[in-house]
Amino acid sequence: MAFRDDLRRTRAIVWKDLTTERRSKAGFNSVASLGVTILVLFGFALGPDAQMLRDAAAGALWLAVLFAGVLAFNRSYQVELDGGALEALLLYPGSRWAIFAGKLIANLIFVTLMLVIVVAVGIVLFQVRIPAQWPALLGIMMLGVVGIVSLGTFYAAMSSRSRAREVLLPLLLYPMLIPVLLAAMEATKAFLGGDLLNASGAWVQMLALFDVIFLVATFLAFEYVIEV
């Protein structure tokens, strides 16, 4: 069946990307370190006052993940382009969406692992009190990562093959991510504050809705951006 073949293709791409990453480790180590460095810088910007840091923790965490994640997205295609492997990948028979899905899942795993490190460091640096509903917080983090990675993987498919990719990806990606980031930040902030106002539910729903919209849109549009 064609669909099952595409799934196998997806799995092969995920496996290939993760293996490359696992064998070199340089990419992950540097991106995760950058995430932690950005957190430290936010710490300096927001001052040593503990309450201030706690209030700003949600925003700082997400921005650190975003700024470091952007490097991962371009990298994910750059590795292909260096060896001329993207053309080969495109020449193989099968649906194009399988390539996107493969890249997307590999990036999801990559960014999630980075998020684990950044959040762990962030909890310490920003003196966050871990709330009782911490499993729900993990769910929010995953939803936020899905939003960031789906748009990031999509725009990197273009920016990595253009001139000035370093500036082009953030320029295209950041404005597009505002709704996702806003919802993720607000939901995280509400949960970290104990969610006294019950405000997080609506944000989580919005975040999930944005994820669905952007996933569908990027899957549909990927065909057009990868073909040329």
Partner: protein
């Protein structure tokens, strides 16, 4: 690359200059008319006159980006390169009017609200729209291959247009949850005529700008096609 020179790249029929003059003179007339006929506002005084440039500029912005969306969809569907050039022209003019909307809004907001900027849903989503289309135009300038540029910018344009209502909704929620007052404005009928006339004038002017920009883009592309064909040795025109 995959675009063969074809008949659609005969140089375009030039836009009649009279139309441009007409649009320009109509614009002058509607501005003067609106300013002269509208009385001073009870609250804002003559500051209200700002409405006759700010509101039409905003309307033209959204109309222009509507054109970008439709032309981009048409390009992906029919692969007609003219649609791509039209989308690019509309995006340029739209960005110009979007910037104008923001600046005029700030000039109005400072004396009225006491601040240059407020994180209101409408303001913020207009700013995000501006940033998205600045990204769109940069993407175009960083990609040389015309077919690739067309496909990519169409995708970015469509996703950007989808994103605008989403940004609006999310910022609105953000503000609502933060319990901050909004600034409802209502329009009394005596100002309406001047506003509608100016809406028409701005639309006409923007359409003229887009047309001229589109014409220039077509000249550029047809010159490129011609030189490409000449380089291949098959062009005798």
């Amino acid at each position: 690359m995959s675009i063969a020179p074809n008949n659609s790249f005969d140089p375009p029929r030039p836009a009649p200059a009279a139309l441009g003059w007409l649009a320009f003179l109509f614009f002058i007339f509607t501005q003067v008319y609106a300013v002269v006929t509208s009385p001073a506002d009870a609250m804002m005084g003559h500051l209200q006159k700002m409405m006759y440039v700010h509101v039409p500029a905003a309307e033209v912005t959204f109309a222009a980006f509507g054109v970008v969306l439709l032309a981009s969809l048409h390009f992906l569907w029919k692969e007609d390169e003219r649609a791509d050039l039209l989308a690019a022209s509309a995006a340029e003019v739209g960005s110009l009017f979007c910037g104008l909307t923001l600046v005029l809004g700030m000039l109005w907001g400072r004396p009225t609200w006491g601040v240059w900027w407020s994180w209101d849903a409408r303001l913020t989503s207009t700013l995000v729209l501006f940033l998205i289309f600045v990204g769109y135009l940069s993407l175009r300038s960083f990609v040389e291959d015309p077919h690739r540029r067309g496909q990519w910018s169409a995708a970015v344009g469509i996703l950007g247009a989808i994103n605008v209502p989403i940004v609006f909704m999310s910022v609105k929620w953000w503000r609502t949850l933060h319990q901050l007052p909004s600034n409802p404005r209502s329009l009394s009928p005596e100002y309406l005529r001047g506003l509608l006339l100016n809406l028409a004038a701005f639309t006409l002017l923007a359409a003229w700008f887009i047309w001229r920009r589109y014409e220039a883009a077509r000249y550029e592309r047809s010159a490129e096609h011609a030189s490409q064909a000449a380089a291949l040795g098959g062009y005798d025109g």
